[in-house]
């Protein structure tokens, strides 16, 4: 082995060991655990697919997967639609002097605790909260409407957080675009919409997809927001996993659910891999 190779291994080995110890090994253990079962309160290593079969048999389990997917896709789409214009305005409409402040304001929600922020939304959306009070004051509604403890509340809490994340990834992409692309498109007779549709949007797709993928991953695995804001009116996969662990200590079924969750994320990665540019973050 050459000196350079030894040095190369020296740099890579800590990260490799870290990945093996804290990702590969736990993943293998989790995979093996998902093939075990619980007989009464005893763990049995019978290496069967019974836990996966249970996912199909029990309506509440596959419904949890469906609910997680519906919420995650809704949040991702809404966040992209809201984040893109915001990133555009910061990149092209705000003077360079104020861009830093605008970015600072964009990431401000990250500075507060996730749990505190979720409880704050619960109060804002309550029957006697700011939203209902305002709607009643302007005469839009006569009686308070139920906003908290619903899917709407969960999606709102998520979108508030992920719009900021997507704004940053899209902004990072937009700011790298040379203004010559726009000028060239205009010179060739394209109007503003055509320039955006055929030039800017395709070039910023990596930023959108990268942000959307991160939103998807973080949203589908989140426990706190649906637990606090959703009011348990429907359960997501992480919530069902917590129930399996909290009372029953059913690690095999919880592991099977976690593997399903990871498979969905892996599928999302494969679907978006063409445009993913994580190195641009």
């Amino acid at each position: 082995m050459s000196k350079d190779q030894v040095r190369g291994w020296g740099f890579v080995t800590p990260a490799l060991l870290w990945t093996i110890a804290f990702f590969i090994v736990p993943f293998v253990v989790m995979g093996a655990m998902s093939l075990a079962s619980l007989e009464g309160r005893t763990l049995v290593w019978d290496l069967s697919l019974a836990n996966y079969a249970e996912l199909l048999e029990k309506k509440y389990l596959w419904r949890a997967i469906l609910v997680s997917l519906e919420i995650t896709l809704t949040v991702t789409v809404i966040s992209v639609v809201l984040a893109y214009p915001l990133a555009w305005i910061i990149a092209f409409r705000v003077s360079p002097r104020w861009q830093r402040l605008a970015l600072l304001l964009a990431i401000l929600p990250f500075w507060t605790s996730y749990v505190v922020r979720s409880y704050a939304w619960l109060l804002v959306l309550a029957r006697e909260g700011v939203v209902n009070e305002t709607l009643m004051w302007i005469g839009a509604i006569a009686e308070p409407i139920t906003l908290a403890n619903t899917r709407f509340a969960t999606v709102t809490g998520f979108v508030h957080f992920f719009v900021m994340l997507l704004t940053l990834t899209i902004y990072a992409n937009l700011i790298q675009l040379s203004p010559n692309y726009r000028r060239a498109a205009m010179d060739l007779g394209a109007n503003a919409f055509q320039t955006f549709r055929h030039v800017i949007l395709p070039l910023t797709l990596p930023g959108i997809v990268t942000g959307a993928f991160l939103t998807f991953v973080l949203c589908i695995g989140d426990y706190v927001t649906p637990q606090i804001l959703g009011g348990n009116t429907e359960l997501t996969v992480p919530q069902v996993i917590m129930v399996q662990l909290g009372r029953r200590a059913d690690f095999p079924l919880a592991s099977a659910l976690a593997i399903v969750l990871m498979s969905i994320v892996a599928l999302a990665y494969l679907l978006s891999a063409r445009w993913l540019r994580l190195d641009r973050l």
Binding site: G40, E128, N149, G231, L245
Partner: protein, 350 residues
């Protein structure tokens, strides 16, 4: 040779240091009511020790944590009264020394020998109890309606109810509404319980944990919490006296928490002292009025320490009636437990 001696010397010092650390500390796996400094500080001062507390949620999580720990990591365990046998089965509780903790002054109904004893050996003692019943806002609902389970989740209160997010007490309440005793619940009763749960769920705005249920009631999001009780409204009593609770005529569910010494504890003697303190009138009064949640002390002598105002909030004088009217949590075996949990999750996903 000299190196070997050095290693031996350092090892001996390390061992001594380890013992000194172990003697000066007590590690307890507890519910949040034990984390109140007002409760723990007097014990630490008296014994000149540091009590390290770790909260957990759900017996399954506690047992998993204990099974993954090294012997001696934990000294004391606070556990749901109905789950003492599970902890004994898992081998994580040690027998309590005979006569170490007296229950002579306890409310007789909460001594619960059958819960805290396995094969004639006592592993734990009850330390606190209370009720999973109906909490409500007396300014928003008709208190008379809260005196019967049939009117609590009636159409009149559609969308104004939150259900406490723990399947055992809520299914216990559903069973009581159907005239089924909580200790007699079997797989054959689940269809009836399912009917009640479905009605309850269709009227509910949310299914909430402790903090969320308190927030929902306090902010007016809901006016009734099914499965609530003194533990939910007592800490809010001074600021919002309209938030109150009752036990309907059909009855309600009684919860109880027990405390025991962990098998292989580093400081078993200190652990027993801790349990003696917690079950003493002074410890019981502090535990009953913990800043996390209030509940009735198991030791009736705590009444000599509690103030009249505190006893009013706990409904001290009504306890004989309440104890007679309530039934302990359902304590299903492993198979029935899975069926009940599945039914609960199906209900939540409706």
């Amino acid at each position: 040779m000299q190196t070997g001696r050095k290693i031996l010397g350092v090892s001996a010092l390390a061992l001594m240091a380890g013992n000194a650390w172990a003697e000066g500390e007590l590690n307890a796996l507890v519910w949040c009511d034990h984390t109140d400094p007002e409760l723990i500080a007097p014990f630490e001062a008296k014994h000149n020790v540091k009590v390290n507390l770790r909260e957990y949620e759900g017996t399954g999580a506690a047992l998993a944590l204990l099974e993954q720990s090294r012997p001696g990591d934990w000294d004391v365990l606070v556990v749901d009264g109905i789950d003492v046998f599970r902890a004994v089965e898992a081998g994580v509780l040690a027998p309590l020394p005979e006569g170490a903790v007296s229950t002579a002054d306890y409310f007789p109904e909460v001594v619960m020998v059958e819960n805290n004893t396995v094969d004639g050996v006592t592993y734990a003692v009850t330390e606190k109890f209370g009720y999973n019943t109906i909490s409500y806002n007396s300014a928003k609902v008709d208190p008379a309606d809260m005196e019967s389970l049939s009117t609590v989740w009636s159409e009149k209160y559609d969308g104004r109810i939150s259900i406490y997010d723990y399947y055992l007490p809520v299914m216990g309440l559903a069973a009581i509404a159907e005239g089924i005793a909580t200790d007699a619940i079997g797989a054959g009763d689940l269809a009836k319980i399912d009917g009640v749960l479905s009605t309850m769920r269709s009227r509910a705005a949310s299914v909430a944990g402790v903090v969320a249920a308190q927030t929902a009631l306090a902010t007016g999001e809901v006016d009734i919490v099914v499965g609530g009780g003194e533990w939910l409204t007592a800490v809010l009593a001074s600021e919002q006296p309209e938030l109150t609770w009752t036990i309907p005529k059909e009855g309600a569910v009684r919860w109880a928490q027990s405390i025991g010494v962990v098998e292989g504890a580093s400081n078993p003697d200190l652990a027993v002292e801790f349990i003696k303190y917690i079950t003493s009138p002074e410890g019981q009064a502090r535990l009953a009025t913990s800043s996390c949640f209030w509940g009735m002390p198991a030791n009736a002598k705590a009444g000599d320490v509690l103030t009249d105002a505190q006893k009013d909030i706990l409904r001290w004088d009504q306890q004989p009636d309440y104890l007679a009217l309530t039934q302990l949590y359902p304590a299903p075996d492993a198979d029935l437990d899975i069926e009940m949990q599945d039914l609960w999750l199906e209900t939540l996903q409706q």
